[in-house]
Every structure is written in C-alpha cells, then in structure tokens.
C-alpha cells in the first residue's frame, strides 16, 4: 500500500481571505441528526459526540496539539478554504498512519458562519476556539468578521452552558473587538482559566499563525469566555 506522505504547504497555497457571505459549494448535512461523523473519524461510534470545534482551523496546528492532549475527545476544525482544509485532511491521514493517536481529530471544509447548527445540536460543544481570526479591517468588511452580535447567538446555541470559547489575536483591535462583543453579550462572561486548563496553555504556541507571531517577536492577546445561563430567563423565573 502506498504510504501517505506528509503534505507540504507549497502544494496547498491559497489566498488568505474568502468571502463567507457568498455561496461556495459545500457539503453539509441538512441537520445534525443525519451527519455521518464516521467519514471523518475511523473509530467514531454512535454514542460518541464531537465536543471541540476550531473555527477557522487554518493548517491544523491547534488540532494537532490538542488531539494527543485529549485522546478521548472528538474534535473538528472548520475551514472555508478548499486547499487549506485539504492540507489538514492529508496531514491527519499521514499522522494517523504513523501514530496511534490523531484518530480523534479531523477537518471539514465549510462555512462556520452559516452552518454551525447543521453540524451540532444545541449545547453539544464543550470548547470552541477562535484563534487569529481574519481581521477584515475595512468597515465594509466588518460583516465578514467571525465575531459579531448576530453570530454570538449561534455560538451560544451550540455550546453547552459552562462551555468555553478561547480567543487569540495578534491584532489588538481585533482582540478588543472580540472582548467587547463577548462581554456585552448576555450569554457569555469573561473567564479566567485555572492553571489546569490545558487548552488555554497551548493557544499561542500551537498554530502556524501563533508561531509566526512569536518568531517576529510580536504580541498575542488571549481572552476566554464562559457560556452562562440566560440572565433574562433566570430573572423571569425568579419573579
């Protein structure tokens, strides 16, 4: 059998920005009930559930780090760019043949802004990662940003109460934007992870983007948020 080679990035180059509002041809299930995760994970059983999601996973650095750290947890990366998601796919194929681990991580080429509820049931996820999101600096492109008041409702929907969102950016304006949006959103509050939170420790060093920032002696800012109960419903119940 031909050995699967580790992919080389030069064969998978693609433009960094993609318009998430336009309709590229994606495969996505009509609903989470019909999603076949065994296509992604060779050992996936009916009682298993994907618990972590890396939104905009890029070349897969975070997933490669997290996969052996949480070997019992199924995790997925969403990536909108065809070649980049293809790279991650090939990367895991190669890793799995050389290692016993990495069977719990995979990538799906899709648009996270549109199709999260198609893949995940309400409250399914325990952790979500938004690492080095595309800044989309221009005001006319702000609606392409992955963090917005409208989308936070969807993130809150797929995350369980008590679930966590991890964010990182090397652009202070983007970090501030994310902090402002999450903090003002009634279903999230800022969270200081305890030392035992393994995921929090690898946020900066594990991704290609993060390593580049470190190499260039740049700065990264992190912020973590917890999904909380709806204060409005809690108050109504109280009255």
């Amino acid at each position: 059998m031909t050995k699967v080679k580790y992919p080389q990035k030069r064969n998978y180059r693609q433009r960094a920005h993609s318009n998430p509002l336009s309709d590229h041809s994606f495969d996505y299930p009509v609903s989470p009930d019909v999603m076949d995760w065994t296509k992604l994970y060779p050992r996936f059983k009916p009682e298993n559930e994907v618990k972590f999601c890396d939104i905009g996973c890029g070349y897969g650095g975070l997933l490669v780090t997290l996969s052996p750290m949480f070997p019992e947890t199924y995790m997925v990366g969403f990536e909108i760019r065809v070649k980049v998601s293809d790279y991650v796919n090939d990367r895991f194929l190669a890793l799995r043949q050389d290692n016993e681990v990495y069977h719990n991580a995979g990538v799906i080429r899709t648009n996270a802004m549109k199709y999260l509820p198609n893949f995940f049931r309400k409250g399914q996820l325990e952790k979500m990662f938004i690492l080095y999101p595309d800044p989309h600096f221009k005001k006319c492109k702000h609606k392409w940003r992955i963090v917005s008041e409208g989308l936070l409702a969807e993130y809150a929907y797929v995350l369980k109460v008590g679930g966590l969102v991890y964010t990182v950016s090397d652009v202070k304006e983007v970090h501030d934007w994310m902090v402002e949006h999450f903090t003002n959103f009634p279903l999230f509050e800022r969270y200081d992870p305890p030392a035992e939170d393994k995921a929090a420790q690898v946020l900066i060093g594990s991704t290609e983007e993060g390593k580049k920032v470190l190499r260039n002696k740049g700065q990264s800012w992190t912020a973590i948020f917890k999904r909380i109960e709806d204060p409005y419903l809690v108050n109504c119940a109280g009255t």
């Binding site: 590229h24 009509v30 609903s31 065809v82 509820p117 409208g150 989308l151 809150a156 709806d230 419903l233």
Partner: protein, 363 residues
C-alpha cells in the same frame, strides 16, 4: 413579503398596490391611505453607530408588507419607510429602517421588522427605541412573532427556520432543519405546529415540541408562491394552483385544488372568503366554504391595479461558486500519481542494482 393581508380585527382584507393601501370589505375596495412618505429627519433618529449617518429613505415607494393588531396597522415599504396607522388610518408614527424590511409584525406594545440583511429589530409603538434583536447571515424571508409573545420565528435563504426567545432573541430556542433550499414562508398553525414552504418545493408541517417534521408534501406544480391559513384550512399557492388542505390533528389532507388563468402573486383568506391577486393584474374574491373555493367575483370600487409593483427580493436560489477547485484536485491527483511513479521507478532501480550486485558477487 406580502401585499395582501387578512385583518381579523375588522374582518376585511388589506391590500397594498404601489404606495396605496386599500381595504376590501365584502367585494368593495376603498382607498385608505398613501404610504411610504419619508418622515422628516428629526434629532430623535439615532444613527446605528457613531460616525455613521442615519438611514435615509431611498428607492421607489411601494408597499411590501402589512401587519395588524387591534388598534394599529403597520406598513413597510420598499423605500425603507416603516409606518404605523390608527384604525382611522391616520399616520401615527414613521421611521426609516436601516435596510429594506422584508417582514413586519405589530402588537400593542411593539413593532418588529426583519430586513434584507438578515437582521431583526424591534421598535416601540411610536417607532423609536430601535433595538437589535437577532441576525441571520442571509436575508430573512419571513417572520412570526408568536401570539404569546414568547418567541420570534425567522426563516432565511440558508434553509433555516430559527426559533428565538422573545424579547431575548440572543437566546436561540431551536432550529427547524429540513428544507434544502430557501425557506419562503412560515405560518404558525397552533402553539405546537408550524407550516413552511421552501424553494425545494416542499411543504413541511413541523412539531415544535420535538423540532421534527411530522409531514412533508411535495409541490403539485414547481415553486411555491405563498401560503395562507384559515383554521382548519391551509391554502398553498404555486403560480397557477391554489391547493387547499384540511388540518386534522397533525395531518394535512387535500380537500380541493383550483387552477387560475394567470400567475398568482399573493393570497389572503378568512373563514368565508379568499382574496387572490394575480399578475394580470387582477384581484378576485372567492367564496370559501368547507375547504372549497367557488363563486369567483371581481372587486368593485376605485382600485388602480396598474400601479402594482412586484417586490424585488434578492436572489433566492443560491448561485454556487466552485472557483475552479475541480482543477486543483485534478492537478493534485496528477502530482500524486507522478510522485508515486517516481517512487516506484526509484525502487525498481534500487532493486535492479541490488540484484546486479548479488550476481556480481556470486559471479
């Protein structure tokens, strides 16, 4: 967007033709008021963000939606104007929405609109105090505020029906997922039953307690135009058919079908009558009894249907861009094939060398 609306509070139909709002009682049409006049800008218009301008009315003014509650009527127009009238059809309030509104709902405490950007906003009855409620990533095609005011239901071009709590719409209660194309219209049949039609030419009856479809019916003739509900009957319109279904428990059974001479634009129904607007343009009123439409008659009164303007909805069916990725995968396949061939020939070469070494040693 719908221009024909049954007003149960006055047992009459309201119809928007161009900028004119008409009332149909019995078979007579009466002009009520001209809509879409841009309000004078006052200081009370707060721009949505600092540094951004307050929205301005733009484009031709024609009615795209009507909603009613006991004391008020709300009208949305193509030029972004949102207005409310009292029951004497005196204008009570008006404002300019940020984007063109696609649906409107009104209660005695609030006005809610959805727009073509996919966002929903609420206003006070005086149309001040605009609050952002929720956002879809594509255009919101229809919207329902449940009568108990606990939920806001919105449907979009990305096949989704979203049920959010109200007024805390940031809290999504559930999704109804099953359509494979845009969801055009939704109707709440009871607190637990929702009906939807979509661009996939399906009519779906949903159980809201389980978020599952209980019945799916295919379209008798291509795309759906609209649906209407007069308990226990549902009227589903394609361009030339009106199919009537009776709802018993949680099952729909067809009771009759009517074929029209011209394309249907909109329909509204009460217990005893059905109003049909066709592309001639013509307005017809039918008797409606036991789920059967009959006794068609024309509408009398001063009504200038030539003013009718079709609401321009953004592209409904998705224009899928594949951006030449088939090429990328073809090139990749070739590259891997070449690499494998190279490997094989290298390996064959090494084998040959080993063999010749062996024979050399032996010899």
């Amino acid at each position: 967007m719908s221009v024909l609306h049954y007003d149960k509070h006055t047992n009459s139909f309201l119809l928007g033709v161009g900028a004119n709002l008409y009332q149909l009682s019995e078979n007579r049409a009466k002009l009520l008021v001209k809509c879409g006049e841009a309000p004078e800008t006052t200081e009370k218009e707060e721009p949505i963000k600092e540094g951004e301008k307050a929205p301005r009315a733009e484009g031709p003014a024609y009615i795209t939606g009507v909603a009613t509650c006991e004391g008020r009527v709300a009208v949305i127009s193509n030029n972004k104007v949102v207005e409310t009238f009292d029951r004497d059809f005196q204008r009570v309030a008006s404002t300019v929405a940020i984007k063109r509104a696609t649906s409107v709902q009104i209660t005695d405490k609030t006005v809610v609109i959805s727009d073509k950007a996919g966002d929903a906003y609420s206003y006070s009855t005086a149309l001040t105090d605009r609050k952002y409620l929720l956002g879809h990533v594509s255009v919101v095609m229809d919207m329902i505020l449940t009568p108990d005011l606990n939920f806001l239901i919105t449907c979009d071009r990305d096949e989704k029906i979203r049920i959010s709590h109200f007024p805390n719409c940031y809290n999504i209660h559930s999704y109804l997922l099953g359509h494979q194309e845009y969801v055009l219209k939704i109707l709440l049949l009871s607190p637990n039953l929702l009906l939807s039609v979509g661009g996939d030419q399906k009519l779906i009856l949903w159980d809201l307690s389980t978020s599952q479809p209980v019945q799916t019916l295919p379209s008798p003739q291509e795309d759906y135009i609209t649906i209407s509900y007069s308990p226990p009957y549902i009227l589903a319109c394609n361009s030339r058919h009106v199919t009537v279904y009776k709802l018993t428990d949680t099952t729909l059974t067809q009771t009759s079908q009517l074929v029209t001479d011209h394309d249907i634009i909109d329909v509204a129904s009460s217990d005893s009558r059905v109003a049909l607007l066709t592309r001639e343009p013509k307005l017809e009123i039918y008797q409606f009894s036991e789920g059967v439409m009959s006794g068609k008659c024309e509408v009398e009164g001063e009504i200038d249907l030539s003013q009718f303007k079709d609401s321009v909805l953004p592209e409904k069916k998705k224009v899928v861009r594949t951006a030449g990725f088939a090429e990328y995968f073809e090139r990749k396949r070739k590259r891997i094939e070449e690499e494998n061939l190279k490997e094989e020939s290298k390996q064959a070469h090494i084998n040959l060398q080993e063999k010749s070494k062996e024979t050399h040693l032996k010899g």
